[in-house]
Symmetry: C2
Subunit: 252 residues, 2 copies
């Protein structure tokens, strides 16, 4: 039975998140419903990981097994997009996976996120629900310099949601870049995996640095406290995008 690897773009605004839940519509459920409409099979679409309610994706990855000889990768992509045409969800890419060990979640080696802050006097019109609006001036260069103090292998308890289900708060952060692009400030984060709310909690604290309320040293002090209450607030979900998920070269 062929296993398909899907690359998925979505607007998470009107969803409870990636993961199927009883309390509202999820991206996973919408894609699974499209698989059923296309193939007649009720089967799980396994994502690389959850995204929270309101979080978007430019390149979420998932896999699904579909036992249907009339389908191929192109037909799956186009067929799912046809059945998803009323949803803000698009299958950007679909390939057949030959490595039978491939699993969208367990094979993943790298997650890349983008966080968009709109930093101007007036609220967003076109990007409502797509950015965190901060009207006060923030200094992206200071934020970037401070962010470098979080890189590497640390106990990230201070930036971990109390609902996090990870076994350990120790993670290795490979990239945390902050840069200005016109009216926007972009935070780019990369790691093998993240704790629940980790990127949003980084951004909430970095914004304090950007506003001049925190020094770079305050950020390191917060990290070393191993205490969620030592760090800044959680930035809103709506500015966060799962950009891409990386796999070993042997698992395309």
């Amino acid at each position: 039975m062929p296993r398909y690897k899907l690359t998925i773009e979505y607007d998470g605004s009107d969803y409870v998140g990636w993961q199927r839940q009883a309390n509202g519509p999820s991206i996973q459920e919408a894609v699974e419903d499209a698989v059923f409409a296309l193939s007649g099979e009720r089967t799980e679409v396994a994502g690389s990981g959850r995204t929270d309610a309101g979080v978007h994706a430019l390149g979420q990855v998932a896999h699904v097994d579909i036992d249907n000889d009339r389908l191929n990768a192109d037909k799956v992509r186009m067929g799912l997009n046809f059945h998803l045409k009323r949803a803000p969800i698009s299958i950007l890419d679909c390939i057949v996976i030959t490595d039978l060990e491939f699993h969208a979640r367990f094979s993943a080696r790298r997650r890349s996120y983008l966080y968009r802050i709109l930093n101007r006097a007036s609220p967003p019109a076109l990007d409502r629900g797509r950015v965190w609006f901060i009207p006060r001036d923030i200094d992206a260069e200071k934020m970037h310099a401070a962010a470098q103090g979080l890189l590497g292998n640390h106990d990230f308890t201070s930036f971990r949601s109390s609902h996090c289900q990870a076994d350990s708060p120790v993670k290795t952060l490979d990239r945390l870049d902050v840069s200005r692009a016109g009216d926007e400030v972009h935070v780019r984060a990369e790691a093998r995996s993240f704790l629940h709310h980790q990127v949003r909690n980084f951004v909430g604290s970095l914004a304090l640095v950007g506003e001049g309320k925190w020094s770079p040293e305050d950020l390191v002090t917060a990290l070393e406290a191993h205490d969620r209450s030592a760090a800044g607030p959680t930035a809103p979900a709506e500015g966060l995008y799962l950009v891409s998920v990386g796999y070993p070269e042997t698992s395309p």
Copy 2:
């Protein structure tokens, strides 16, 4: 009585267009309602020109006279944004106009538009209603080269809506650039003023060039026919953005 010049961003998706109309909500009406909520005055907000249903703006310009001593430019901007907070409309800038002759429409000397085409295999998820989705490959360089044949002073009847209310079909087109930006093809058009549907009709014909169905000569032949039926279809409203409106330096 002070005259305020407003620069306005909006998502036109759920509106009948800029202009107040009986058949549905307009941007103009929403801003006039906000002026009333702020100042208690029912007064016209005069735009630089109409935009069609579904067309967006990054920088529409309008003026409004408000007779209220307690207000100033900053208070008008913030107050209107407060009352517009449930609408996808944002007042980006507000200044007091000292030139009593200034009129957002009649003083305008330049209109700049952007048209966004999403040119990839899969439909938009995050940019639904914000781009024209063309899944077939289009060649932006060919489109740009052909577009240069439309520059200058011409009778643009072939690219004019039958509902156009302009006195003359003769206009001077100053810029029509086509360029690729990743998965998108951008068309940028500038002129003192445009006929109704002129930019969307340009784009509809340029797409035929981009797909290889039309040669650059076909585009010139269409222009010279002075006949709407000689040109290509009207591109959808949702890809079009009014980027900015220019005024003489004496009218800031």
